[in-house]
């Protein structure tokens, strides 16, 4: 029941968005096709812009994994990650996520590429990436923009939310796809 609701949301979201946004734009008098193309042009830039980050992370992860260091780390941390049902391979993502969005995207891409997008690891990494944020970056930029130095409880609150987001991603993946 719960699972079929989530599946329905996943299946319907894109078709609904693809049809509703242009209809709404048209009713507001937009030249929808032309506006779409203007936006779509940025797609190429986005993909090109992430190449250096992907290459940097792919290279580092490749070295780390082919050498066997990843196996050692996964094995050493398995008592902790095993508790919540997280495969050790996903753990580097949990460390990278709050620090660097492009770095984390690199890790997700690498996991999806290596283990397959429809594997448990691939799904868990995707869901974790989608449900957490680059917390430290956001904190630094937002507070920095107004020169606030005493951030009070913002950091603990944000990091708790991050941790909960990650654990939720692990648990939800295991329940739905496990």
């Amino acid at each position: 029941m719960f699972q079929s609701i989530l599946n329905a949301i996943s299946a319907l979201a894109i078709p609904l968005i693809i049809v509703l946004i242009p209809i709404y734009g048209y009713r507001k008098g937009l030249k929808v096709y032309e506006v779409f193309v203007v936006g779509a042009k940025e797609g190429f830039d986005v993909a090109l812009r992430i190449i250096p980050y992907l290459v940097a992370i792919f290279a580092a992860i490749s070295v780390f994994r082919t050498s066997g260091a990843m196996n050692v780390l996964t094995w050493a941390l398995s008592p902790v990650t095993g508790l919540i049902g997280m495969p050790g391979e996903v753990l580097p993502l949990a460390f990278m996520r709050p620090l660097s969005g492009s770095g984390a995207l690199g890790i997700v891409s690498e996991l999806v590429q290596t283990h397959g997008p429809d594997s448990t690891i691939g799904r868990m990494a995707s869901i974790m990436m989608g449900s957490t944020e680059t917390t430290f970056y956001v904190l630094a930029v937002y507070f920095g923009s107004v020169s606030v130095t005493n951030s009070r409880h913002a950091v603990p609150a944000a990091l708790t939310a991050d941790l909960v987001g990650m654990i939720s991603a692990v648990v939800i993946t295991n329940i739905i796809f496990g």
């Binding site: 779509a40 940025e42 997008p117 944000a158 939310a161």
Partner: protein, 232 residues
Amino acid sequence: MINIIWLGMIVIGVSVASIDCLIDFTNGTLTWNPSLVPLVDLTTGVFESVKFAVTLAIGLVGIMSLWLGLMKIAEKSGLIQIIARAVKPVMIRLFPDIPVEHPAMGSLIMAIAAGMLGLGNSATPLALKAMQEMQKLNKFKETASNAMCMFMAMSTSSVTIIPATIIGIRAAANSSNASEIIGPVILATGISTTVAIIMTKLLEKLPRYRYPEQADAQEQDGSVELTTGKEE
């Protein structure tokens, strides 16, 4: 920090492979077994990997273009305003220190609505505008107000409706159902945003995080007279 992690992965990886070149540690026993194979494998692996990185990024172009095109229509047609209207009643309750008619409330609502739509590039300026407006209501300019902390927690756990980039990455890697993660992502961010809101409300009352009292305001900061609206 990211520099250390990145460098660490490479240094540790090359070190482990080098040790592996000298001794064989399979099956739990260490045997002296000089061989260059682990380092050769490492080199081949790196070259293969960076090739994948580029293939993947190119595969992402289609979906990113589709998404950014749709988002441009959403932006130009004022769809954000519709979402803003829907979230307003909730926002008023979450940010009790901000007067409803103050510009800070308007920019907060817009920033959160843009975040929900995943309008990355347009969301950041809106968020910075919201921070500036909240700073005008802030009595202690170097200390984050309750409203700022709430906004921060909600931003870092932002409710995402469509994680477009990840769907693109999955599609580029030939997923049989790239968008199957949408439902789970909405659920997980829903949970983390709820926790973010509860944590912020709980923590702001703790002595060590309490907002400075009005009494010290004059000493620390002369700009008290600039503030308007409801104050604690």
